[in-house]
Every structure is written in C-alpha cells, then in structure tokens.
Amino acid sequence: MDAPETSTSPMRQNIERIVLIALVIAFAVVTYIVVRRPAGVGEEPKATRDIIGVIISAGLTLIMYSFLYRDNPLFKMAENLYVGVALGYEAILVWRQSLVPEIVDPLFRAPTGQALVSAIMERGIAILLGLMLLTRLSKKHSWFSRYSYGLMIGWWAGFGIYAVTDSMILKQLQASVAGLQKDVADSAWASTLFSGDWFTQVGLPIFGSAVLLVGVVSVLFYFFFSIEHRGPAGAVSKVGIWFLMVAFGAMFGYTVMGRLALLIDRFDFLLFDWLKLKNNLGI
C-alpha cells in the first residue's frame, strides 16, 4: 500500500481541505433550514426515522458524487460503510430466506419426531455439503469443499449444455434460416423511411434479411480463429468488424438513456425528497 498518493502541492491540499469542511457546514445549514420548514399544506408529515434517513442518504449521495472531483476521506468512509452495510444486509437476507426455512425450521424446530427424521433424511446430505463448503477457509482441509462445488458446478455444467443448445443455438439458428422474402420484422419503420408498395413489401424485406444474413455470417467469421484473415477472408472479417462497430455504437447510444435515468432518479431524490422543492415528478 506504499503507492504514491496523487502528487499535489500542500497548498492545494489545504485549500481542498477547507473547501471540504465548508461543504460539510453548508450541508448542515441547508438540512437545518429544510427540516425546520413546516410541512406544506396537504403534505404527508414524515416519521422522525424517515426524516433522519432522508438526511443521511442525501449526505451519502453527495459524498458519493464528490468522487467525481477526487477521492477524499469522506468518500473512503462512505465507501467502507457501504461495503459493510451491503454485507450485513446480504447476511440477514440469507438467514431469513434460506437458513431459517431450509435448516432451522425443519431441523431445530421440527414439530414431531417423525418430521425430524424425514427432514434429516431429506436435508442431511445437503447440510453436510454446506458445512463442507466452509472448509474452503482452511488451507489444510479445503479439499472437503470440492465435494460441494463438484455437485453444484457439475449440475450447472450438465444442465447448461442442454439449455444453451435449446435457447441459444437451435432457436437462434432457426430464426436465421429463412427465405429472403420473410417480411421485415416491423414494416412500420420501413414505411416511414421509404414510400412505394413494391419497395416496402418486397424490396426492403429481401434487402433486410440479406443484411441480417451477411451480418451474422461475417461477424461469426470474424470470430473464426483457425485461418488467417487475409485476402477474401480478411475482407469478410472486415465487414464483420463494421457490423460489430455499428452494433456497439447503437448499444452505446441506447444505453445513454438508461444511465441518465439513474442520474435523474438521484436528482429527483435530492431535489424533491431532500430539498422538498415543488412540482415533484412523482417517480
């Protein structure tokens, strides 16, 4: 951990420290004002624990955003706190969803002797395997855990072969094997882009499915490693790359909307839940 901290002049570090403190104070002040403001007309007054909660999460949100400028003590703090809380949340979740119903109830709170016996018959091995999983922690006995992993990995491997063949290969292959006359998946856009019946009804479909075929084949060929991509082969894989690039561009452009949505969600929280500004969008 002896790596160099980001090289900055002590001068600047001091300034940053001051700014940080100032920000914290500002946050406190704003929060105070907001909390003091009486609940508006027709507003559902919040329970105290929720008021506190909103303040805390607003603080955490801002701290997390401070990472955009630079790593800082508050961020480190929040980051570690988050890691811890996430772990605790997960632990309780597993306890409630899995350990209690699957182990505690049937075994330690079995209603009758027979029930206990049957529970042991049904679950004994599984619980044993679960315990063996834990030996992974010891250097010496970790090999016990291989039995449990073996079971799970074996299952998913074997089942995967079947499932993937069905849904990923056969289905997709079947969808790609079709006559060129197959009508376009959705001619609505076609009619927007082009006019003329022949074109939208015959020309485009043929063109479309041709594009589809060329695309799939050329990209598949780009992932073909057994021959050198020179000459015609090189040309095909070049086309493949072009298709890939168009696709990635499209994905990028599409994803923008999703990421912005996340940002909007957070700002919605800051503006309307924390600062209680008007015209809430109600998400």
Partner: protein, 608 residues
C-alpha cells in the same frame, strides 16, 4: 409411439373421409360424428405416462355451437349404469390444439387431426382418505340439519380435521400423543383465527372510515384554498381562518388514518398477545405441523393419482349438438368403446435435435482436445490485443508503477474468468521478469485463491519466488458496486500505469475503465459480456471482444484444452454459417418453385 406413427401414415386417407363427412354435414347444417374407425385413443408419446390422447379427424371448418364429447369410465359396463365422466370440448383455435409436432412430428397430416389430451386422474378422482367421501359429508350435513346446529360448517371442518388426524396416526405420520395435542391446538387456533378475522374486519372498517374522512378533509381544504384565492377585502380574513381550520382538520384526519393503519397492521399481533405463552407456542407448533402434514399428504395424493393414471380405461366419443343430445360414434345401441392406457416413455422424441447437436458438438470438441494434446501448436490467428499486454507491462516498468489486473464479477467456473486466469499467469510472468508489481482485484474468494496460486507460480517460474506478496492479490469488495467503488478508489489513489480489465463485467465496466483512463493508465480490456463491450471499446486502448478473449487465453497459454475446444468451436461455427447460407438459399428457392421445406425448420424447432 407406434400408434402415433400409424396415425401419421393413415392421416391422409382418414382426412379424406373426415372432409367427406363434414361436407355432407355442412349440407344438412349439423355435424355428424366422425367414422368410428377414424377415432383413435392411444398413449401420449414422449411423456411421463400421465395422459392418453384422443384423436379424431378435423372437419373442413370449425363446427358452430357444437361440442365434442369424450366419456371415460373404468370398465365398459360402467357406461351402461351411468358410472362415467364426461369431457366436453368446444372446438376453437385455443382450446383444441391440432398438429402437435411435439408428439407427432412434422408430417403434413398432423393438420388433419384434432387431439385432446386426457389425464384420467382428473376425471376418475382418487378417494382422498383424509377427506370425507361425498356420501359421508352428505350424511353429516343431514345430521347437522336435524340437529339444526348453527355454524354446521365449522362442525364439519372440525370433523374433517379429526378424520385427517386419525388418518395421519393410522399412516404413522403422527403419534397418538401428538394427534391429541394437535386436536387441542387446532380448536385453539380456530378460536384464535376467528378472533383475528373479527378484529381485522373491525380494523379495516375503521381504516375505511378514516380514509373517507381524510378525503373529505382534503376536499374541504382545497375548497378553502380556492375561497382564499378568490376572496378579497373583509371576506379574506374569514376565508383564511376557515382555511387554517381545514388544514388542521386535515392534519388530524391524517394522524387518525395513520394510527388506524397501524392498528390494522397489528391486529394479528394484538390478538396473539391475548393468548397465554403455552397457547402461543401451541399455535406456532400446529402451524409447523400442518405444513409438514400437508407435504406428506400431497406426496401420497400424487402417488394415488399416478396409480390411477397408469390404469387402462374405456372411452366413448361423440358430438353434442346445439340441442344438447349427444350422438356417440358407432352404430346406435352398440356405440364404439375404445380402451386406452397411458404409459411412461423413456425418451422425449421431440428433443432429438437437441441431443444430436449436443452430442455431435461434444464429440468434435473432445476429439480436437485430444488432437491438440498430441500437437500443441494448432494454428490460431494472431490477435491484435495481445501485443498490448507486453506493451502495457513494459510501460508500467518504465514508469516504475504497478499494474492492475481486475477480474470482474465472474465466478471461478465462468469461461471468462478461466480465460482471464490464463492471461493473468502470462501477465504475472512478464511482470515478475521486469520486476513490476501486479495487483489483482477480486470479489470472489475462490477466484482469489486460484489467482494467488497462478501468480505465485509465475513468480517461481521467473526465478523470483521471494518477490511474491500474497497481499497483492486482494478481495476488495463484497457485491458488485462495493467492489467497483473499492477498485476505482484504489486506482485513483495508487495511479497504476497499466490496467487489465479481463473477465466478466456488468455495469461497473465503464466505472472502472473511465476511472482508469482518468489516471492516464494504458488499459487492456477483454470480456464476453456483450452489453459492456461498447464501453471497453471506447475507453480502453485494446479490447478483446467476446470469443477473442477465449482465443487469447488459448494463444497465450497454448494449453491443449483451450486450443482444442477453440478449434472445436470453430468447426461448429463453420457448420452454423453454412447452415444459415444454405438454408436461406433453399428457402428462397422454395418460395420461388413452391417446394415444401417446412420440415427443415422442424429440424431446429425447439418444442417445449
């Protein structure tokens, strides 16, 4: 299954008969039943022996207001003395499935048939030993009426419970003592449940009232507001006052509603508090006991139904016209009686294509792995991103800073992770030679362990086992984003000169690569998670796209298992490409020359 095949064969002929029938039917305006010999009752192929299939020719057009009727009985005599069950089927696109490729293949004749799957146990219900038979409950009801007991239903359910408990004792599911306790606990629970329902009803009523009051209050407040907005001069003051009053009233209403909701939520708890400690434990105990007994009963019931399904039963088939009178097939008086038996089959025929592909592909891959073991320098085309690995390490050495290797979210059995580990061993090897520090960031304990071994080995091979520090291979986060946050933060703090983002990534990909870019590090990425590839492509210096990652690991490690399976995959890819091209050509020509090639699609059909 044999029967299914014969049906395919005779399909055409029978279809002709059927069409003939339905034509004259159309002439007379009501549907004739199909010919007796054209109706088939046989085992449903490729199933677990839970149903038989009744088939009959499909008329030219769907008959109007006509139902098909299937009668099922244990033995032929039962038809005479009315001990049979009737299945009514209204023909419609949804109800009556035709052309069941799933069971009968893709023969064109499938379209000429109607098929109904009959599960005997659904109609010849098993006698559930722990419940009352029809007679018993009827008797009890009369007894009840005589006794004119109010709430006879409760008495009945009580007896039901009692019977079920005795049955459980008989079956050895429950000891006498437990049964006794259960009986007492049950009576207690009944009372408890009644109280709860009563209390809940009360509480919900209160809730409703509170809600209404709140609504009124809100209305009043809104009016008051409008009044204020319109009022002026002397009226204004008064309006303001009334508004204040309205607001206060609303606040009260809200408080009332909140407490009402709270109360409604806690009714169960409140009633429960009323019980004594032992009573409470009894109620809980009974709850657990019931769920256990329910499972046991369900098991037995399932078994009983399976036994019923396994039997041979008699069927009659007919058509039910608008008037409601049923015309059974076969000569009047001696209607045809078919017998059918559901058998468990050993193989799902309709999964054959899946099996063939899976086995063929497995064969290819395994063979090539063997070949590769003998000759480990199978040709793999050069992969652009790979020189980048060397380059990046070199750069890190020049700048005297560390190199990061980020594993992503894959588990240890994920393909991407295993490929990544192969790349890692190469990276670590180079780093050890150049005396550059590699830090590996994980979130998964086993991946950490494996990485540690790989890196240690690499250092040993490089002849500098002393330089290996296990703390460099760290597990830094627990879930996706704590992991991402931790890694990003470390990047900023330690400013690595080279960053390898190789493995399976989700949304955190951009977070990592963009932070890395901001530190000016040279970045090499590789992942098979396509939704993240765009971000790596744009933000990293080199990216191994999808399978390139697998190829890269094979290329670097020269491991026969990697080389071989890569070659195997290439063969499969070649097959897919040819299939697509040829298929497209064939289908296009088929349309041009009017060939019947639907069966080709059938080869790839995935039937559920």
């Amino acid at each position: 299954m044999a029967s299914a095949k014969t049906i395919d064969r005779f399909g055409g002929l029978v279809a002709a008969i059927a069409i003939g029938f339905s034509l004259c039917a159309a002439a007379w305006g009501q549907v004739q039943p199909p010919a007796a010999d054209s109706v088939k009752v046989h085992d449903r192929p490729s199933d677990d022996g839970s149903a038989v299939v009744v088939e009959w020719p499909k008329p030219a057009e769907l008959p109007e207001n006509v139902q098909y009727v299937i009668e099922i009985a244990r033995k032929p005599e039962d038809f005479a003395d009315k001990k049979f069950q009737t299945i009514k089927i209204t023909p419609s696109k949804n109800l009556l499935k035709t052309g069941r490729e799933k069971y009968f293949g893709f023969a064109a004749s499938n379209q000429d048939w109607y098929a109904e799957e009959v599960t005997p146990a659904e109609y010849l219900k098993p006698q559930i030993p722990w419940a009352f038979t029809a007679e018993e409950s009827a008797h009890l009801r009369t007894v009840g009426d005589v006794a004119a007991v109010a709430g006879i239903k409760d008495a009945l359910t009580g007896l039901e419970q009692w019977k079920s408990l005795t049955w459980c004792v008989k079956e050895g599911l429950l000891s006498e003592k437990d049964a006794q306790r259960a009986w007492l606990a049950w009576k207690l629970t009944e009372r408890y449940a009644k109280d709860v329902t009563a209390a809940t009803a009360e509480a919900t009523a209160v809730q409703k009232k509170a809600e209404e009051e709140l609504e009124q209050a809100v209305e009043a407040r809104k009016q008051a507001q409008t009044a204020v907005s319109q009022a002026s001069g002397p009226g204004l003051e008064q309006a303001k006052e009334s508004l204040a009053a309205a607001v206060a009233a609303e606040a009260r209403a809200r408080a009332a509603l909140r407490s009402a909701n709270e109360a409604a939520r806690m009714t169960g708890e409140r009633v429960r508090e009323g019980l004594t400690k032992s009573e409470r434990s009894d109620v809980d105990w009974l709850g657990r006991l019931d769920s256990y007994l329910e499972q046991a009963k369900a098991k037995r019931l399932k078994k009983a139904m399976q036994e019923i399904n396994a039997g041979t039963y008699c069927y009659r088939f007919g058509v039910r016209s608008e008037g409601g009178e049923t015309t059974l097939v076969g000569p009047v008086g001696a209607e045809a009686v078919y017998s059918g038996r559901a058998e468990a089959n050993l193989f799902r025929r309709y999964k054959l294509n899946n099996l063939v592909f899976a086995l063929a592909f497995s064969g290819i891959v395994l063979t090539f792995i063997q070949i590769a073991k003998r000759n480990p320098n199978l040709y793999i085309r050069k992969i652009a991103g790979l020189e980048a690995v060397e380059e990046a390490i070199g750069r890190a050495t020049e700048m005297g800073r560390s190199a990061y290797f980020v594993h992503g979210l894959g588990g240890v059995s994920d393909l991407a992770t295993i490929a990544a580990i192969n790349v890692l061993s190469r990276v670590a090897r180079r780093a050890a030679e150049y005396d550059t520090r590699v830090r590996v960031m994980n979130w998964e304990p086993i991946v950490t362990a494996v990485s540690q071994e790989v890196v240690q080995q690499a250092y040993t091979e490089a002849g500098r086992p002393d330089a290996y520090d296990p703390d460099d291979i760290a597990l830094v986060g627990y879930n996706q984003f704590s992991y991402a946050a931790a890694v990003a933060a470390r990047m900023v703090r330690e400013q690595p000169a080279a960053i390898f983002l190789i493995g399976y990534f989700l949304a955190e990909s951009l977070l990592l690569s963009e932070t890395g870019a901001s530190t000016g590090a040279i970045q090499v990425a590789g992942t098979d998670s396509d939704s993240q590839l765009p971000f790596f492509i744009t933000t990293c210096d080199y990216t191994l796209i999808g399978e390139e990652l697998y190829a890269a690991s094979a290329y670097l490690s020269r491991e026969p298992r990697m080389l071989g399976s890569l070659r195997g995959q290439d063969v499969a890819k070649a097959f897919l490409m040819t299939a697509m091209v040829v298929g497209t050509i064939v289908f296009t020509m088929a349309v041009a020359f009017g060939w019947h090639v639907e069966w080709i699609k059938g080869l790839f059909e995935v039937l559920d």
